[in-house]
């Protein structure tokens, strides 16, 4: 990813089983802020110390929308582990968030 991205490093653990998530937003709209909160909460709960969230503001660099093929915000893209998963919306539906991201840390069951 280019240097234009706003990256919020939540943890600084080594890669390996490190999840790599990218959240596309436009500015600080209520939907986007909600999405950030929802994503962080879910990650803290299920992936504490094993995740990395990159927040990309498409208003700052609109051309990234074409490059990354993002038309709707907020959109979360799970870049690692593969396969790539894409979730659209403010992530207020927690069940769909967990199912969509396949957020199941080793040895635990879903909420």
């Amino acid at each position: 990813m280019s240097e234009l991205h706003t990256a919020d490093d939540e943890t600084s653990a080594d890669s390996g089983d490190q999840w790599n998530l990218c959240l596309y937003v436009t500015d600080r709209s209520p939907k986007c802020l909600r999405a950030i909160d929802n994503l962080r909460r879910a990650c803290e709960e299920h992936l504490a110390g094993h995740y990395h969230i990159e927040v990309v503001d498409l208003l700052e660099n609109p051309r990234l929308a074409a490059e990354d093929q993002i038309l709707a915000v907020p959109t979360v893209v799970r870049k690692f582990p593969s396969p790539i998963r894409k979730l659209v919306g403010d992530l207020s539906d927690n069940d769909r968030l967990l199912v969509g991201l396949q957020l199941r840390p080793p040895g635990s069951t879903a909420t």
Binding site: Y24, T26, R34, L58, L59, V73, V88, D90, L91, S92
Partner: protein, 576 residues
């Protein structure tokens, strides 16, 4: 957004001076009276492969190249490379336009299975990227192709719906002239009813196959604030792009030349007061084998002999067959082909499809720039096709030729005035009818001039004779027995000639006879005169002798008396 809503409400009644953005598609601009509504959104709806993308691209390319209006293309169906490749064959170099800063292309591939919807969202990135692209090149035109793909892509269509509605208003607000394309739906114009948001102009494209012949049609369903052609206009996608050929608009504004050109048949030129007007249309109808094609060959031959270019479209024959047949009439057309003046193209319309046939013709006209064209055997166009469609296609061909001021001869199979050729006759400036007349066990061809606009023309019938040195027109014999042609004419002519000869020799004989009589009588007169003279002479002679005798007698008597010493006595005897 409140502002936008208010603006669109107050501006709902647009005046007659609505500004338009030309599409560069000639026929479409004619139908819409100048193009699409400037600064507004136009919906182009059609099924897959109907030509929506091409229409949008031509709009962008024309804007960039001809009208100084750069554009943005957002494709939701195909990649930029693929779009570029698809239209390269039409002569659109999108890469060059992009390098020249006249076009921005963006593409999005949206697979519904990619996304999981997890709550509220909006399409702000689309707005942002459009805004960025418009700013980047100063775009005045935007095409979104096919925006309906967004439905179903994110799981929640109600949000997509409201976002597209917002997008339409945003585009209006932005002042760009936009085209959004939509898939044709079963009940609505588009599958997802996006015509609800696009209220200014709606164009529907249709691709129909009737009896295995495909025809594309275009219709302007709605054009707020502007008059527009409401018919379905056939169009075609040719090697040069999108071509709409509205009948009504082309037909009536072409130039009219005063120049006359020869048909190659002197007597026919004479019948038409000196030939055909350049750029006029000559319709030759007649039954099979009446010599329609030969007439066409003459016109082409005459044109090429003048150094002009000719185009021959054969609907029923092969070029080789045509050339051979014309050679038998003493017309060597091969020399003009060799000289590069004549181009022959033979194809059955039913093989290519009507629109393709028209497209090829259009291309040939552009390539060959002929001054004379002959469409031979257009009856074949109706084979296996609905007659109305075929006729309208021929009409468009004639229009096309007429608009280029090409003198055109069209031959059509038809019995006479009351057939399907009638519909074409209104397009023709001159209409010749060739008719076979069957008499005395033979068929002879007669030529009539049914009409000739702007020309004093002969009202007489001529016999049309095909000879080894071309077509000849011969006066027919009109007499008590009606119109005679062929052998009957020849026989009649022979009879008349005989009679004349006979009459001449009769007179001669009579004259000679009379002269002889005169000579005879004069001779006779001389003889009679001689006799008369002789008789007169005789009379004189006799008179003289009598006188002498009397005197002699008197003398004798007195001599006797003297001798007898007698008195004078009456003498009753004596000689006379």
């Amino acid at each position: 957004m409140k502002n936008t809503v208010l603006t669109s409400l107050t501006e709902s009644a647009v005046g007659p001076d609505l500004e338009k953005a030309p599409t560069g598609i000639h026929g479409l601009d004619q139908i819409t009276g100048g193009g699409l509504p400037r600064g507004r959104v136009t919906l182009v709806a059609g099924s897959a492969g109907a030509g929506k993308t091409l229409l949008g691209l031509e709009f962008l390319v024309a804007g960039a190249r001809q009208y100084g209006e750069p554009g943005v293309l957002v494709s939701f169906e195909e990649s930029e490379d693929k779009v570029t490749l698809n239209v390269r064959s039409l002569g659109f170099d999108l890469d060059q336009l992009r390098r020249d800063g006249l076009l921005v292309m963006l593409s999005f591939r949206l697979d519904p299975s990619d996304f999981v919807a997890t709550g509220e969202f909006d399409l702000q990135p689309l707005f942002a990227i459009l805004d960025d692209a418009i700013e980047r090149v100063g775009a005045k035109r935007v095409v979104l192709d096919t925006i309906e793909v967004l439905f179903g892509a994110f799981g929640d269509d109600s949000i997509v719906r409201s976002e597209l509605s917002r997008l339409a208003r945003w585009l209006d607000d932005r002042g760009v002239t936009a085209i959004v394309t939509g898939e044709r739906g079963d009940r609505n114009l588009t599958r997802n009813g996006i015509e609800e948001y696009v209220t200014d102009c709606v164009i529907v494209l249709d691709h129909r196959v009737t009896e295995e012949i495909s025809t594309r049609r275009l219709r302007v369903v709605k054009y707020r604030g502007s008059a527009h052609g409401t018919n379905e206009y056939p169009f075609l996608i040719s090697a040069r792009g999108f071509v709409v050929l509205p009948i009504t608009s082309i037909a009536l504004n072409y130039a009219a030349s005063e120049e006359r050109i020869s048909t190659g048949i002197a007597r026919l030129d004479h019948m038409l007061s000196g030939g055909l007007f350049r750029g006029s249309t000559l319709l030759v109808s007649g039954t099979a084998g009446t010599g329609k094609t030969s007439l066409g060959a003459h016109i082409l031959n005459a044109a090429c002999a003048r150094g002009e270019r000719g185009l021959l479209v054969l609907f029923e024959e092969s070029p080789a067959q045509f050339l051979r047949n014309m050679r038998s009439l003493g017309l060597d057309l091969q020399q003009w082909i060799d000289a590069g003046l004549l181009r022959i193209w033979a194809a059955r319309p039913s093989e290519l499809g009507l629109e393709t046939h028209l497209a090829v013709l259009a291309r040939l006209i552009e390539d060959e720039t002929p001054s004379v064209a002959v469409l031979d055997g257009i009856a074949a166009i109706g084979q296996g096709i609905l007659a109305a469609e075929a006729t309208s296609m021929v009409a468009r061909k004639i229009d096309l030729l007429k608009s280029r001021e090409i003198t055109t001869l069209v031959t059509a199979l038809g019995q006479g005035e009351g057939t399907s050729t009638e519909t074409l006759s209104s397009l023709a400036d001159t209409w010749l009818l060739l008719r076979n007349v069957e008499t005395d066990g033979e068929r002879n061809r007669l030529l009539f001039v049914l009409k000739s606009r702007g020309t004093a023309h002969s009202n007489q019938v001529r016999e049309f004779v095909l000879t080894s040195h071309g077509v000849e027109l011969v006066d027919v014999y009109v007499g008590a027995a009606g119109v005679l042609a062929g052998s009957a004419r020849l026989a009649q002519q022979a009879t008349e000639r005989d009679a004349e000869v006979r009459q001449a020799s009769d007179l001669d004989r009579r004259l000679r006879e009379l002269r002889r009589n005169v000579v005879e009588r004069e001779a006779h007169l001389v003889v009679v005169q001689d006799e008369l003279d002789a008789e007169r002479a005789e009379i004189d002679r006799i008179d003289l002798r009598e006188g002498h005798q009397a005197a002699d007698t008197e003398a004798d008597r007195s001599a006797m008396a003297t001798r007898r010493w007698a008195d004078a006595a009456p003498s009753n005897g004596g000689q006379r």
